[in-house]
């Protein structure tokens, strides 16, 4: 399956990735060749196969609802690119 520059533009919006017009063309070409390669999977009939979702036999794990220590607020905030009054500050949302 070949991707167009327009389709790449839509994908980039979904992936929250700003890309230039030149990148749209560049990625469309590269992604098309990768998708052409993965089309190889069509050679296999998987109509009767269960998808493998977990490689291990897993189940949900619960822990007791107890208070445990974690990193301090200051440590967590220290990596914030823009912090004000103990909040992460972002541009206006609504």
């Amino acid at each position: 399956m070949a991707l167009t520059a327009k389709e790449v533009e839509d994908l980039a919006l979904k992936a929250r990735l700003k890309i230039t017009d030149a990148e749209k063309e560049f990625f469309a070409e590269q992604l098309s060749s990768i998708l052409k390669y993965v089309d190889k999977l069509d050679e296999l009939d998987t109509s009767e196969v269960e998808p493998l979702i977990y490689i291990l036999p897993v189940s949900n794990r619960f822990r007791a609802d107890e208070i445990r220590s974690s990193a301090s607020r200051d440590e967590i905030l220290a990596n914030g690119p823009l912090v004000e009054d103990f909040h992460f500050k972002v541009p206006k949302i609504i």
Binding site: L31, V38, L44, P81
Partner: protein
């Protein structure tokens, strides 16, 4: 003999006899790093001050048990408290984690001395370190060639004797392929054997932490220290961890070893094929039973990988939005622009490629055709291996189709670069343990042999690897490095 040339178990013996000290070893390691790293470029961060501090503490205590006094380094995606952890991405260039990874903490508690953080392909996406946002690491055997990747810094540092061991991660071959290219021992344990807590996620159903060492004994020693159950990683498995060193007896008599014909065919260089075939003959002469088998679905593992891994990455890397940590574009006027522009500036091309591909594979209308199809093929690949492991103890094949390639040789064509992992990816798909050990040379470049075991049977794999090492000298060969 310089201290930096010694393996972990050799250093342990010296320390136990008080014939050296943690500080002496640390000095030797840093002098080696300073003499070689201008050429090799394995390290993105050195932690010299902290390392000497720890070494001095250990010497004061004078108790050299476990890994006390043994230097090591971590791939730069293991979170290290108060030490920058970048994933070799502009996105995390200034990120200083408030906590340690589980594996790193285990090494610290065992007395290990962290000397620095190692170069890698950005977010572990790549096979050469050329996708590091900072620089490309050089292969110590030939500085014009790549060390492999994504744990390229981890492999090169061990090969260049900058550290006796390092940790890496392996999602599709990222420990085994660089180990093969650099002529060291690389071990990827079973999925679930080692906790991934504090390791930046790429593809969560495939990622596994593992070791890079100069011999098999060291791989067993380090695996002893990092394995085990961790409630903080819900995929970490609560089963007993044996002492892996006790299986290293040089015996392979009666072991049943399968070699899959597909892994010796098309695309595998003659030199590589011959070296691994020679190794198989050696096993036979030691009393192992060998048989050719078929893993017909393995040829579908790579296309399956390039749907599953990008799909998982597109979800995992959604956390990098410029809000709580990482790079933020300060110019953006609204939130969507802030996300999109921060990510555009923070991520390199390979990461962008995989995020777009993964978003595509998961998007409505394509989910069944791509992602679900890949999960079904993954089931077939796993069943292939299960069938073989019902009758055999181990599978042996080449780690890579050829030896290390030249820098810039493959960077322009993503698909060619992806082919590097064609012999290693199936192992991740099935969640099995795999390792690469040196088994020969072609034109002065190391060749790696891959040993694959049953799930949670790292012991048999290590046993066979050790037996081979006892009979050969490949692991003792050293790259010739002209140093300052």
């Amino acid at each position: 003999m310089e201290l930096y040339e010694l393996t972990v178990h050799e250093l342990q013996k010296l320390l136990a006899r008080k014939e050296s000290s943690a500080q002496e070893i640390t000095r030797s390691i840093f002098s080696r790093i300073h003499a070689t790293d201008e050429k090799i470029a394995s390290f993105v961060t050195l932690t010299e001050e902290k390392a000497y501090e720890k070494a001095s503490q250990i010497d004061k205590m004078g108790n050299y048990q476990n890994l006390a006094g043994i230097p090591y380094a971590l791939k730069d995606l293991f979170c290290t408290r108060d030490i920058r952890t970048t994933c070799c991405s502009r996105m995390l260039e200034d990120f200083v984690p408030p906590y340690d990874s589980y594996a790193g903490r285990r090494l610290e508690e065992a007395g290990g001395i962290l000397v620095g953080k190692l170069n890698m392909d950005e977010f572990a996406m790549g096979s050469s370190t050329e996708h590091s946002a900072f620089f490309t690491t050089r292969n110590p055997w030939d500085l014009q060639r790549v060390p492999g990747g994504s744990s390229g810094g981890s492999a090169a540092a061990v090969a260049a004797e900058q550290v006796p061991f390092s940790l890496g991660t392996d999602t599709g071959g990222s420990i085994r392929q660089p180990a093969a290219f650099c002529g060291v021992v690389g071990l990827k344990p079973t999925y679930g054997r080692v906790s991934r807590w504090g390791v930046v996620s790429y593809s969560s159903s495939l990622d596994q932490v593992g070791t890079l060492t100069r011999d098999v004994m060291d791989a067993a020693i380090i695996l002893n220290h990092i394995s085990g159950y961790d409630p903080m990683d819900s995929t970490s498995v609560n089963t007993a961890v044996p002492d892996y060193t006790q299986f290293l007896d040089g015996e392979v008599r009666g072991m049943k070893i399968a070699f899959p014909r597909e892994y010796f065919q098309a695309g595998v260089d003659e030199d590589v094929r011959a070296a691994v075939k020679n190794a198989l003959q050696l096993y036979e002469s030691l009393g192992a039973e060998l048989e050719e088998v078929s893993l017909p679905c393995s040829e579908y593992a790579l296309p399956t990988y390039y749907l599953i891994a990008p799909a998982e990455a597109s979800a995992n890397l959604a956390r990098f939005d410029g809000v709580r940590y990482g790079l933020r574009d300060m110019e953006a006027e609204n939130v969507v622009e802030m996300f999109s522009q921060s990510r555009a500036r923070g991520f390199g091309d390979e990461v962008k490629r995989r995020l777009l591909l993964g978003t595509y594979a998961l998007s409505s209308g394509y989910y069944e055709e791509y992602y679900l199809k890949a999960l079904k093929v993954r089931q077939l690949i796993k069943q292939d291996f299960e069938r073989i492991f019902a009758d055999y103890d181990l599978i042996i094949c080449p780690t890579t189709t050829r030896t290390a390639f030249k820098i810039d040789e493959e960077i322009d064509d993503p698909l060619t670069l992806y082919m590097n992992d064609i012999l290693t990816v199936p192992v991740n798909m099935a969640g099995l343990p795999g390792m690469s050990i040196p088994c020969g040379f072609a034109d002065g470049l190391p060749i790696g042999m891959q040993i694959i075991g049953r799930a949670f049977d790292e012991a048999s794999m290590l046993k066979a690897a050790f037996a081979f090492e006892q009979q050969t000298e490949f692991h003792r060969a050293k790259p010739h490095l002209e140093v300052k």
